[in-house]
Amino acid sequence: MSEVLVLVDHADGKVRKSTLELLAFARRIGTPVAVFVGDAAAGEAAATTLGEHGAEKVLVASDPAYGEYLVAAHAELLAALVQERQPAAVIVTAGAEDREVAARAAIKTGSGIITDAVDVAADGSASQQVFAASYNVTSKVAQGVPFIAVKPNSTAPEPAAAAGTVEAVSFAPTDAAKTARIVKVEEKAASGRPNLTEAAIVVSGGRGTGGDFAAVEALADSLGAAVGASRAAVDAGWYPHSHQVGQTGKAVSPQLYVAAGISGAIQHRAGMQTSKNIVAINKDDEAPIFELADFGVVGDLFQVLPQATDAVNARK
């Protein structure tokens, strides 16, 4: 069976759930081979998890250039592996960096790319939802190797025992790829909450919060959820842009999306309409968010959210 390359998304060797989802899709097409970029010890640690989810091999690329330069060095690596191994497909997460890595590697290898896939089929075709999820589109890559960037939460991780054999990659990026140098990194304070695009539950606040996100955060914490914000809330300076859900922010598709004090403008819907379940709380019973909510409460979020938080905590 042909190999399918899966680019691993990880934090210091801790494999993100989104990568395990990629492995589940990869197994439909062929034999998953994980590509791990990072230091060798972290690669060894990651290989256990990757092997438990179907990765037959774990190719570990440890050149220091990958940590010092943005995107282009990773793309050279991926293109070199594609040329060497001729996989049936290359699957990456649709994150900010990996989609660009895939895009550049696709150019290098004369391949097509499908982004923001929510489903991947055995023949390497992939489905997307476009125009604020108003259309379903299934595409195939007609030339080269299909590069597919998959949205997190599009499938569930599937345990599948495989060897997870670690192989060191000898490829070294050329000087041509060492051009976008990371000169400084400012770490952000950890919120302790899950990553917005990967979270199984997202609780978002909008204009209706009036800038007070305490009730939104409290419900999020009771549910173990990430916190999102509408563009109105971000533009008002109430919540950081990295939490913005919508057309000009992040696209999320969690199991449960709770929209509190968000009217549901098209710009917001574009970022959350693929959520499996949508709950809305809004004072205005004519807010468009109610048109797509599976469950809605017309009421004051400062009354409804604290009561819901207490009720969730009471169930624990």
Binding site: L70, V71, A72, A96, E100, A102, A103, A106, I107, G110, G112, I113, I114, T115, D116, Q129, V130, A132, S134, Y135, N136, V137, T138, V141, A142, A176, T179, A180, R181, I182, V183, K184, V185, E186, E187, K188, T197, H241, S242, Q247, Q255, I266, Q267, Q273, N277, I278, V279, L292, A293, D294, F295, G296, V297, V298, D300, Q303, V304, A308, D310, A311
Partner: protein
């Protein structure tokens, strides 16, 4: 400093966005300049406005109506426009679009001299793939610093701040280079009356694929990705809506429990 900025004419998200029978996006509907491109134009103008020797050139690829995207850029203050228009482009994928844009940059450089910086938006608001800037940089062999929420430019370098979930990276590239910018970087200006009047006299070069040394394979005919199925999504239907009578939070959690979500 000579800057090229890419501007895309997109269907208005507030209107009816749909597809033609050949699975290409219906571009006859009401359209406008992709909002995310306004930030790129603003950033370019901030760098070229005050210096007479500098210029910003707005490049669009698209059918006749796409000239509106260039016009808006010229009204905001861009010096010149380029409109690449060819029936064969219809159906181009991201790779094809990137090839056309890269060839256009080369054409502008051959005709008028080197470009120091290409500034693009984060993504178009229709396709939203956010891959074309990286592809253009790859095709031109130029450094790319993408998704900048701030931009500092010197005579020889460009440095962006790239905001991630857990950290912000500062990324430096040597010019000539490409940068893409987010909507966090500035507040795009509105065209002034004077700007609108002046825009009418600004030159807009018209090219077809042949002028760029490309053939129809850069358009739909050579697309590396093909749509095999396309259908309107079964719309979400409104579910149960209750009015809070002091028990709204409890009802909400009861519903979550019924769905096994808590």
């Amino acid at each position: 400093m000579r800057i090229v900025t890419f501007v895309k004419y997109v269907p208005d998200a507030a209107g009816d966005r749909s597809f033609e029978s050949d699975n290409t996006v219906d571009r006859e509907t009401d359209g406008l300049l992709s909002e995310l491109d306004e930030y790129a134009i603003e950033e370019a103008l901030n760098l070229t406005d005050k210096d007479k020797g500098s210029e910003t050139i707005a490049v669009t690829v698209g059918p006749d109506d796409a000239k509106d995207a260039v016009r808006k850029a010229l009204q905001m203050g861009a010096d010149k426009g380029v409109h690449v228009n060819d029936d064969a482009i219809s159906g181009a994928d991201a790779v094809g679009t990137a090839k056309i844009l890269a060839a256009t940059v080369k054409k502008v450089e051959e005709d008028e001299g080197p470009i120091d910086l290409i500034i693009t938006g984060l993504a178009s608001t229709d396709g939203q793939m956010s891959v074309v800037p990286a592809m253009v940089a790859e095709l031109l062999g130029r450094p790319a610093a993408t998704q900048g929420s701030s931009l500092e430019v010197t005579d020889t370098t460009a440095t962006i701040r790239r905001d991630g979930d857990t950290a912000s990276q500062y990324v430096e590239v040597a010019l000539p280079a490409l940068v893409s910018v987010t909507d966090q970087i500035n507040e795009p200006r509105y065209p002034s009356f004077k700007g609108i009047m002046k825009a009418k006299k600004k030159p807009v070069a018209q090219y077809d694929l042949g002028d760029l040394g490309l053939d129809a394979s850069a358009g739909g005919a050579g697309a590396l990705t093909q749509i095999i199925e396309l259908a309107p999504a079964p719309g979400r239907t409104a579910g149960e809506v209750v009015t809070d009578e002091g028990d709204g939070g409890q009802k909400l959690v009861d519903w979550l429990a019924s769905k096994k979500l808590v």
